[in-house]
């Protein structure tokens, strides 16, 4: 009964977000209910009633055994708006318990990591630029879930989430933000310049990462390795000329490039209506097919990226995706984020559309996990973040010997002029 009510409320939530409320919502509801009835797993057995405990006894939460949980479930997901495509991704997604827990863990880690970065920034332990990703976790997680580790990814400066999903440990990310030698770039890159295998940052110049991503895709095509490159940019960058130059060459040469616009409604303080003559970012590729995806739903993102990756791997050329998402923080730590939007709007997204809550509700209402299990995961994550923060605070800053290193690769050591002619510094590769 509870589950059916959740299903119905889910559908209405979906219905509110899409344009055709009436017919679509009803048909989805019918499909959803019929799907529910078809579940293969037996319902969870009723827990036996415990005798009352004497007062003052410490409560032990009895762990449910894994056999109690539903191993997998199918969820209806929002249909994508299509541009120059006959058909789009599936409108339902299969989620296994393991996947659900993994997505939850990852998104929650990113959320907590970004909030910790916020805290450290306010304590002035992190300085300079810090562009936080909380609210957009489903994009990074959904994409990573739908591609292979051997695929490639490049994004702009709001990159901490992707740095994590692409394999860098939280402690190395936080230590990079605090500028310590244990940071992923040894403290020399900072927030916007973190790199990992098949992850090309972290790029500070708005839009510049898009031709770079198309170039990575060219390399994939050239090497014939069946890999794709996911190339991300924001709604603010979407009007950059070099993006259209990249579209042109990617389409001409059929590069395996998935162009993704993370539309969080604001380019710094400028809403999409004020920056873009056309806010249909998934159509801006013109001759390149596109899809518009609910970026707050990790399953929607995953199905869409799977679809897109298949498209590219089939040699059909590039594809454009628009992920509708939202950032809770302002543009960066120096932006309170409420001068160009209302607190009510932010709060509404938090309560009705939060990606982690959405996943949590799905899992709980389908008996794929329990409140206790998820709470335990939260505690584990908290510990990871705390340890990472501790590391990031206590790790020493880079040695001054590092100052001039990494100018040239694979070169003999050379001399670098210091601030005055008597200071001769050493540079090694």
């Amino acid at each position: 009964m509870q589950n059916m009510l959740t299903l119905i409320s889910n559908v209405f939530r979906l219905g509110n977000a899409s344009k055709n409320v009436g017919a679509q919502a009803v048909s989805e509801l019918l499909i959803g209910l019929s799907k529910y009835v078809d579940l293969t797993a037996p319902p969870a057995p009723a827990t036996p009633r415990q005798p009352p405990l004497p007062p003052g006894t410490r409560m032990v939460v009895s762990a449910r055994s894994f056999a109690d949980f539903t191993p997998q479930a199918s969820f209806p997901i929002k249909k994508c708006d299509l541009h120059r495509l006959e058909e789009g991704p599936s409108d339902e997604a299969l989620l296994t318990r393991e996947q659900g827990l993994q997505y939850y863990r990852t998104m929650q880690t990113v959320r907590r990591m970004e909030l910790k970065a916020d805290q450290l920034y306010k304590q002035k332990i992190i300085r300079g630029f810090c562009h936080l990703y909380d609210g957009q976790e489903a994009c990074a997680m959904g994409i990573e879930a739908g591609i292979n580790p051997t695929d490639h990814l490049i994004t702009a400066y709001r990159a901490h989430g992707y740095t994590f999903t692409r394999g860098v440990a939280v402690r190395e990310i936080l230590a990079e933000l605090t500028g310590r030698r244990g940071g992923v770039a040894k403290g020399k890159g900072g927030s916007m310049h973190m790199y990992a295998k098949n992850f090309y940052g972290g790029n500070g110049i708005v839009g510049a990462q898009v031709p770079l991503g198309a170039g990575v895709a060219l390399a994939c095509q050239y090497q014939g390795n069946n890999q794709v490159c996911v190339t991300l940019y924001g709604d603010g960058a979407a009007n950059q000329g070099q993006i259209f130059e990249s579209f042109n060459m990617a389409a001409l040469w059929k590069l395996p490039c998935i162009f993704i616009c993370e539309n969080n409604k604001f380019g710094m303080g400028t809403s999409v209506e004020r920056s873009s003559a056309s806010t249909d970012y998934y159509k801006r590729g013109d001759y390149i097919p596109g899809l518009k995806v609910d970026g707050m739903d990790v399953l929607c993102v995953r199905e869409a990226i799977r679809f897109a990756a298949d498209y590219c791997r089939a040699g059909k050329g590039p594809i454009v995706m628009e992920l509708e998402t939202y950032r809770y923080h302002g543009h960066s730590m120096s932006d309170p984020g409420v001068s160009y939007r209302t607190r009510e709007e932010i709060q509404e997204v938090r309560t009705k559309n939060d990606p982690i809550s959405m996943l949590k509700e799905r899992m709980l209402s389908n008996n794929m996990s329990s409140v206790e299990e998820l709470k335990e995961i939260d505690l584990e994550i908290r510990k990871v973040i705390e340890d990472a923060a501790q590391y990031a605070i206590s790790d020493p800053e880079p040695s001054l010997d590092e100052l001039c290193n990494h100018i040239y690769a694979r070169d003999p050591p050379m001399e670098v002029r210091g601030t005055n002619p008597w200071v001769k510094l050493k540079s090694v590769s």
Partner: protein, 359 residues
């Protein structure tokens, strides 16, 4: 005529070549190769040697290159490795850098370096700085090449010299060949280098032939980036130059020699990293310095050389202040008489030398 000129220029070297000719047992395999063909052969050999190397740019493939530098390469290597791009510098330079990130070794041609300004963000922020920002994780083995500096009658927007602009930036290597030996050896070195290299050619030099020895024609002949070459030994004054102006310095030196002034001519070959040691050694020997370049004087290559000499041991050996011979500080005019007076001429070099030497 050109080979006679190069014979006269090379001073002592010419004599030794002749002597070698007399005594060598086999006939020398020295050939006349113009700068364009030297570049072409260098690219051809590097394309063959390493399948990760590819060339992209406007008109490089089916047109055989706007200046025919890539003639024949598309026919030999095909669409995959010789790629014609649309006229979108920012886009294709970024694509080239991204390809370098992902393991290829692109040669990105700018039809002239003037057009690189459209893409300069990709050259500096995406290519030059990345190895440093990533603390050595991400290499960028890319060569950007094309004709630089003044040409003939192409007017202001097509005549700028970018040696100083790119030479300013750490993380880049900036190379400026003069003759065919430079072009061949430095381009091969640039392609084999794992760092972003800005390769500044000169359109007026493309058609000029120079002699290349058998050793220079070897497919593994490379010239080290970051080493200047003393083209002509001298005792009274050091002339430091790069690219086409090296030729003018040698011509000026030939004229001055008749008046008893022996100029030492240093061909920089590389703008960054600058070979200060060679320049200092020369200045400490001659006691006088004139730098010669085609670019504008303010904040230019000559300015940097003079500053370095001031800051180093060679200052104490200077008998007179070092001076610069440069292009005139104006946008390049079109009319021939105006253009001719906008760039350093041999008489300007001779005049400056005599001024420095108080003749």
């Amino acid at each position: 005529m050109a080979s006679l000129r190069s014979f006269l220029r090379s001073g002592k070297n010419a004599v030794s070549v002749v002597l070698r000719r007399e005594f060598s047992e086999t006939s020398p395999a020295a050939v006349q190769v113009n700068v364009r063909d030297a570049l072409n052969q260098a690219m051809d050999e590097e394309l063959e040697r390493d399948e990760r190397v590819f060339l992209l740019g406007e008109e490089v493939a089916q047109y055989d290159g706007a200046y025919k530098v890539s003639r024949g390469l598309w026919k030999k290597y095909g669409d995959k490795r010789i790629i014609d791009t649309p006229i979108t510098e920012m886009g294709f330079a970024g694509i080239a850098v991204g390809a370098a990130f992902a393991g290829l070794r692109p040669i990105c041609e700018f039809m002239t370096w003037n057009f690189s300004m459209q893409a300069i963000d990709q050259v500096i922020n995406s290519a030059a700085k990345t190895y440093y920002m990533s603390a050595g994780f991400q290499t960028v083995p890319i060569v950007f090449r094309g004709p630089n500096g003044s040409s003939a009658g192409v007017a202001a927007q097509h005549s700028q010299c970018f040696a100083a602009w790119y030479g300013h930036c750490p993380g880049l290597k900036v190379v400026s060949p003069w003759n065919s030996e430079d072009a061949r050896g430095l381009l091969k070195a640039a392609i084999r280098d794992d760092n972003p290299v800005v390769f500044l050619e000169n359109e007026m030099m493309y058609g000029v032939p120079f002699e290349l020895s058998e050793e220079m024609m070897h497919k593994d002949f490379v010239i080290p980036i970051g080493k200047a070459k003393v083209e002509r030994q001298g005792t009274h004054i050091t002339l430091v130059s790069h690219s086409r102006c090296v030729g003018f310095c040698l011509d000026a030196a030939a004229v001055l020699a008749k008046e008893g002034v022996e100029c030492e001519v240093v061909n920089l070959r590389t703008i960054r990293p600058l070979d200060v040691d060679t320049i200092e050694a020369s200045v400490m020997k001659t006691g006088n310095l004139v730098t010669v370049e085609g670019g504008w004087p303010q904040y230019g290559v000559g300015a940097e050389i003079c500053a370095r000499i001031m800051e180093g041991p060679a200052f104490n050996y200077l008998d007179a202040p070092a001076v610069r011979v440069t292009g005139v500080d104006i946008p390049m005019p079109y009319a021939k008489i105006l253009e001719d007076h906008s760039v350093p001429q041999i008489k300007d070099i001779i005049f400056s030398v005599k001024k420095v030497l108080n003749m």
